[in-house]
Symmetry: C2
Subunit: 323 residues, 2 copies
């Protein structure tokens, strides 16, 4: 390792800022660029991640109830542990709320966080409470990392696997932005992201060589994984699993369902590169639906094909509120 960034980052303004910070930090930082930081303690390897959820950036109160806001914030943070196949252990909650906020709202936010933690076996062990200009939820999560699965490590020939069905969070966002209520299944995918921890450990057991959770969209996060691994891939877009309500909305918007699904962010599904000889076993045995969507190749770059014909893939999800 020559600098503080351990895993190469792709393009983008947020990554540019992280690169600029890392360049200034030099030896004052290390191991940056993955979904989690790793820390050795007494011969055990811990995975640690910190995730901010900011009112007006990641959510608004018009869309979600306080318990859902808390659940989603914690689930997003815990998903970083799944991305490295670490077993969730503990969570620390930093919570800022406006001065006049009701005790009831604070309790419900806290309840949602605790539910998400309990759903994957983590316990709340501490935190901090402050006034703030809006709700800010900061979750620091800690897990035990038996395997070492990171963003980098994919090799040519590996099959690309994604869990679940995509498009729900984008469908929910677009409906809310249009002033309408999303379809229940799409809303649920946004408000209460499913835990993928069991699937993560299953994928690690099946020798997943690289893994990431889908927060910037399948296309965006696949690019991150490929950049980190120094490889490329072909994505067979007709294989991308699409949530039925998302496919319906895509059709209404005259967009290909696979395109819609590939740019939907904050999915918190897993995207992994698995050795080709494990692909069948992964699809057959994964505790949640798992779909092969493409193949890793030596040539850098992401190529999208629909039944063999090249198609254009939109850029990654731009996150709600990001300019």
């Amino acid at each position: 390792m020559t600098g503080p960034i351990d895993t190469p980052l792709g393009p983008g303004k947020e990554f540019d800022r992280i690169r600029a910070m890392a360049a200034r930090w030099g030896a004052r930082a290390r191991g940056l660029g993955d979904d989690c930081a790793f820390l050795e303690a007494g011969g055990e390897r811990l995975a640690i991640s910190l995730d901010l959820s900011v009112e007006g950036v990641h959510f608004t109160r018009e869309w979600l109830a306080p318990a859902e806001i808390g659940y989603r914030a914690a689930a997003a943070a815990l998903s970083d542990l799944a991305a490295v196949a670490a077993e969730p252990v503990a969570l620390l909650l930093g919570l800022a709320v406006p001065a006049g906020e009701s005790d009831d709202t604070v309790s419900q936010l806290a309840d949602g966080v605790a539910d998400a933690a309990a759903d994957c076996g983590a316990t709340i062990i501490g935190g901090d409470l402050s006034r703030g200009p809006g709700i800010v939820i900061d979750c620091c999560v800690i897990g035990r990392a038996a395997a070492e699965v990171r963003r980098r490590g994919a090799r040519p020939g590996d099959r690309i696997v994604v869990t679940g069905a995509l498009g729900g969070p984008l469908a929910a966002l677009l409906m809310w932005r249009a002033g309408r209520e999303p379809a229940p299944a799409a809303r649920e995918r946004f408000a209460r992201p499913a835990s993928r921890h069991a699937a993560a450990r299953f994928l690690a057991l099946h020798r997943a060589r690289a893994m990431i959770d889908v927060s910037d969209g399948l296309a965006g996060d696949l690019r991150h994984l490929l950049t980190a691994s120094g490889v490329g891939a072909t994505l067979e877009v007709e294989r991308i699993p699409v949530l039925p309500d998302a496919a319906k909305l895509a059709a209404r918007l005259k967009e290909q369902p696979w395109s819609f699904a590939a740019r939907s962010g904050e999915e918190y599904e897993l995207l992994a590169a698995v050795p080709p000889e494990e692909a069948d076993a992964v699809v057959a045995g994964c505790p949640v639906p798992a779909t092969i969507v493409g193949t890793v190749e030596a040539e850098p770059g992401l190529r999208a094909v629909e039944r063999g014909a090249a198609v254009r893939l939109a850029d990654g999800f731009d996150h709600f509120g990001t300019p």
Copy 2:
């Protein structure tokens, strides 16, 4: 341990909210109430704490340069490790900044955080970057805790020790609020809190039985320590070490210097209960000035005396911006 709160908390609205959360969390939380959470990993004990610094609540840009804002936020978080005599190892930085924020400001904030971490031997290992309505800095800090020094554990007869000289942060705040520039020494105590990690380990070696860092003011934090330990104390107010610039300002405000110093918060000095037989060695050998300011007693409550005569002690620091 019967509930999620491990160390009893004193009165106050923030503590009321934490108690309410903890009651709801039940078995979904554990070990709350101390300056750090503790986590066992492979036979090692880690101390972990998370601390929010929010623009307009903990600082304003009119008072501090971005690098100072970053330094102070990280120093405040790292101080929680000192409070339990843990050796700083790592820091994760959550940083939210407004949409139009300059790269220069972001870099300077990040520099300040890295300087504070480096000053006590911690390395930045990860974090998260987000848009936000104002600057929010969230530092999660991790240390190795060889000794186990907590808020609770003080016994009757123990001497109460405080490091450094108090009053600087309050003096700086009052001057800024009055639209004036603080005296340099007072400003420095607010902008760049000194690291007390070496002193913390020294106090632990000298069998400190209970310890806390002074964030709510000497009077407030001593009450926290006494409540957590189920004991009381007499504070000899004339012994309280006062920063000369704070004493000058107190005199101008017609306030007793000790009273001013005892209500000054965000000092990040250490307050500890040490066995009486260690008191002389602590004062003589502590790597930073250490002063005996009182004695722990079995009778609950905090009694203040000035040369033997009872005096009234103001309540703890109310934090800038807290209503």
